[in-house]
């Protein structure tokens, strides 16, 4: 093991400090979800010494904590946001699958095939990230309205997949670029077809990159606000849009907003946990190749 005991100790302490700094906002926000209105705004802030309450979760999810344990009463809360969390899960998952599937094929082609306009195509893909979403939100509203896609899962999955596609293509291309093309050439010599090489050799090697791309797509979809606001009304809603409904004419319901926010961290957290192994590999792929 490198370094003396004191150096290792120092590193450990430094690591814990960094973790504490990054974890504090999450802790603070989550603690607000368990506070009464008075405790939320107490001066000085009550970080630990407060009487926890389940009221905010009761209002937001219809979940109550009684003598018989936790009970869920659908529709029992003032707002009942559980179906909206489900909407977000469906939209983020399906749009991620769609974006990653298309991006993987496109990125492989851009990485391995020579065709006219390849470089300008990459530049064009990049340029779409530079356009602010607000510039296309209104035209998209009219298009969606005419195609009957307003307020539908299909519409939201499509727009989030489209929104994430440029980034996913560029990311996946960089991961494929890091895999030596000599491997492909060897396989060709052995008689493998292009699709076979893609499916059996390159794709398994790029698993980490796919995981990293998927996580980013999922998080971007999970947190996207403008399209979700513009292209939905009442049937389909995502978590960021319903969070904004806690801003009322007589102030912001911070406790309710925190309850929804704290609960909405969980699905994204689970996704990251599931792909964590690949994620670390994906994010460091560049340093492992060539």
């Amino acid at each position: 093991m490198n370094g003396s005991f004191s150096t290792r100790m120092l590193r450990t302490i430094a690591a814990w400090v960094v973790v504490a700094v990054f974890f504090f906002p999450i802790y603070y926000w989550t603690s607000v979800a368990f506070k009464h209105g008075n405790d939320i705004f107490n001066r000085p802030p009550k970080l630990f010494a407060f009487t926890p309450t389940f009221d905010n979760f009761q209002k937001v999810f219809g979940i109550s904590l009684g003598s018989g344990g936790i009970t869920v009463t659908p529709g029992g809360g003032n707002f009942y946001m559980a179906p909206r969390v489900w909407d977000s899960i469906v939209i983020a998952t399906l749009s991620t699958v769609l974006a990653v599937a298309i991006a993987t094929l496109a990125a492989y082609a851009l990485s391995r095939m020579n065709f006219r306009g390849r470089h300008s195509f990459v530049g064009w893909v990049l340029s779409t990230r530079m356009m602010p979403p607000v510039a296309v939100a209104v035209p998209m509203f009219f298009i969606y309205k005419n195609f009957g896609l307003i307020d539908t899962y299909t519409g939201m999955v499509l727009i989030h997949a489209l929104m994430n596609l440029p980034l996913a293509v560029l990311l996946m291309k960089s991961f494929f670029d890091d895999i030596p093309s000599e491997i492909d050439e060897s396989a060709i010599v052995d008689g493998a077809s292009r699709f076979m090489i893609f499916r059996r050799i390159v794709l398994p090697m790029a698993k980490g990159g796919i995981a990293a791309t998927a996580v980013l797509c999922f998080i971007f979809s999970w947190t996207e606000f403008l399209f979700a606001l513009t292209l939905t009304t009442t049937s389909v809603k995502t978590v960021p849009v319903v969070s904004s409904t806690f801003v009322t004419s007589i102030g912001t319901a911070w406790g309710n907003m925190a309850a929804l926010g704290a609960a909405s961290i969980i699905p994204a957290f689970i996704v990251i946990l599931l792909v964590q192994k690949h994620l670390v590999r994906g994010l460091t792929m560049g340093s492992l190749k060539q």
Partner: protein, 501 residues
């Protein structure tokens, strides 16, 4: 279990039930575990819990639309059963009460489904603008803030015209029951009635009576009283408590609302009769001088707050008063949400420092008055695919009976109908506690005698929510020179925009 512990727990459970923190089933289950039979409810607990339970039971029975109205809904709504109506609205007490507790009665009676999309105010405007631009009728009903009335006046039905259709008219709907100042201030644009008044947040004076009494200060009956008392409180109790508060976030509509109260209160106006900006005249500058002094008595964060921060500052005891939206009063009385429950007093806005200008001395129908009025109308969209069904819903939502239910359920928002202020259900809620209506007599008096209303012109949405609060924000941030320089620059901008139409 020791008897004393059992009793203490029983008292706690009963208290939670009475306060509405526990549903009936959970209460009965907990009560039975504690050895309390249903028959003993009225005998063993003394007067208060028994009274509380009786009241709760009575409310469950009474807080429903009247049988007569339900019958009418059932008859008139039949042809429209299966229709879905959509309304985009700000999260206001009336909309929340309808969305969460009342619309089920309408849906059951008519078979018409109602989907209410609750959004922050700016997003409601965005949604309605898109709907009008596309003319596709995504929404059947429009929630129209008074500052948008001119913009949307041609996109909605005039309710007076709709009432002529006898087949769909609700018996005793009585459009004349709406408070006339609100009809003029919120719903009228030129000769069109842009919906009917739906909610009415209005500036009233709200102050900590205990602090005023402790420091032996006169109630803030004039603007000068308010300034002197605020300074005295800040001197005596700062930095733990400041005299008054504000909603002064740069670039936000709330800043414009505060400005108009001081401007009108010093005998000024936004526009003159020629339609030119007059906020920079002598009265306008006197208002700014007053505002500067008053701001010095406010908490340091005030220029980052909208009404949310302002309300919290009073609710948490950081500020001792505010001349602001009366909707906050029920929140102040809620012991779970604020630290000033029972300590606040409501009164009409302070008397102006100079004679108010008349409507004839202003432009675009501006009505000077220290009681700045917000508020909104409810209207049926001209692009609705089911305008008749929407009209039935609109009549029900704005009828006297529903408005009374909203006032009781929705936490004491100001009713827009005269009769609702005298409704026994509303009067019964005039006690200290969450959802109180004890401030409503003051709201009613303010509407009748002290109300100020913004001008009506198509450019007003942009002026009130962007240009004016941005200019004022720059002034308070010290980025645009003196008050005169700032307001002179604002005049140029405003007059240019108005001239463009």
């Amino acid at each position: 279990m020791k008897d004393s512990i059992r009793k203490a727990h029983l008292a706690s459970v009963t208290d939670r039930f009475v306060r509405g923190q526990m549903d009936r089933r959970s209460f009965l289950r907990a009560a039975s575990i504690l050895g309390l039979g249903a028959g003993a409810l009225g005998m063993g607990l003394g007067r208060r819990p028994f009274y509380g339970i009786s009241q709760a039971s009575a409310q469950e029975q009474e807080l429903k639309p009247s049988a007569e109205i339900t019958k009418w809904l059932s008859d008139v709504g039949k042809p429209f059963a299966g229709t879905t109506l959509r309304l985009a609205t700000e999260s206001t007490p009336p909309s929340n009460a309808i969305a969460t507790q009342l619309k089920q009665y309408f849906e059951e009676a008519t078979g018409i489904k109602v989907e209410i999309e609750v959004l922050p105010l700016e997003q409601v405007l965005q949604k309605l603008t898109l709907d009008v631009a596309s003319s596709l009728g995504t929404y059947d009903l429009y929630y129209i803030d008074q500052s948008w009335a001119a913009s949307f006046s041609q996109d909605v039905f005039d309710p007076r015209e709709q009432l002529k259709n006898a087949d769909l008219a609700m018996p005793n709907y009585n459009i004349d029951d709406f408070l006339k100042p609100l009809v003029d201030g919120i719903a009228m644009y030129e000769d069109r009635m842009v919906g009917v008044p739906y909610d009415i947040p209005i500036f009233i004076m709200q102050y900590r009576k205990d602090v005023w009494d402790e420091l032996k200060l006169p109630p803030p009956a004039t603007l000068d009283d308010l300034l002197k008392a605020s300074a005295a409180i800040t001197d005596a109790k700062g930095p733990n408590m400041y005299g008054t508060s504000g909603q002064m976030k740069s670039g936000h509509y709330s800043l414009e609302c505060d400005w108009t109260a001081w401007l009108w209160g010093h005998g000024g106006s936004i526009f003159g009769p020629d339609g030119k900006f007059t906020g920079n005249d002598e009265a306008g500058l006197a208002a700014m001088a007053y505002w500067d002094k008053l701001k010095a008595t406010m908490p340091p964060g005030v220029d980052g707050w909208t009404w949310d921060g302002e309300g919290q500052s009073v609710g948490q005891g950081v500020a001792a008063s505010m001349l602001s939206w009366g909707e906050f009063f029920p929140f102040f009385d809620d012991p779970k949400a604020s630290k000033v429950s029972g300590l606040m007093e409501a009164m009409v806005p302070p008397k102006p420092a100079a004679t108010l200008r008349t409507v004839e001395q202003t432009g675009f129908g501006e009505i000077p008055g220290v009681g700045h009025q917000g508020g909104s109308s409810l209207a049926v969209s001209k692009y609705s695919k089911s305008p008749d069904a929407a009209w039935i819903f609109m009549q029900w939502a704005t009828s006297a009976d529903t408005q009374a239910l909203i006032t009781v359920l929705g936490g004491g928002t100001g009713p827009t109908r005269t009769s609702v202020y005298d409704d026994p259900r509303v009067l019964a809620n005039a006690r200290v506690g969450a959802g109180t209506t004890r401030h409503l007599p003051v709201v009613r008096d303010t509407i009748a005698n002290y109300m100020g209303s913004e001008p009506d012109l198509p450019a007003w949405a942009e002026l009130s929510s962007d240009m004016i609060p941005v200019a004022l924000g720059k002034y308070f941030a010290g980025q645009s020179g003196s008050a005169k320089e700032s307001l002179d620059a604002l005049k140029t901008q405003v007059d240019d925009l108005v001239a463009k139409g």
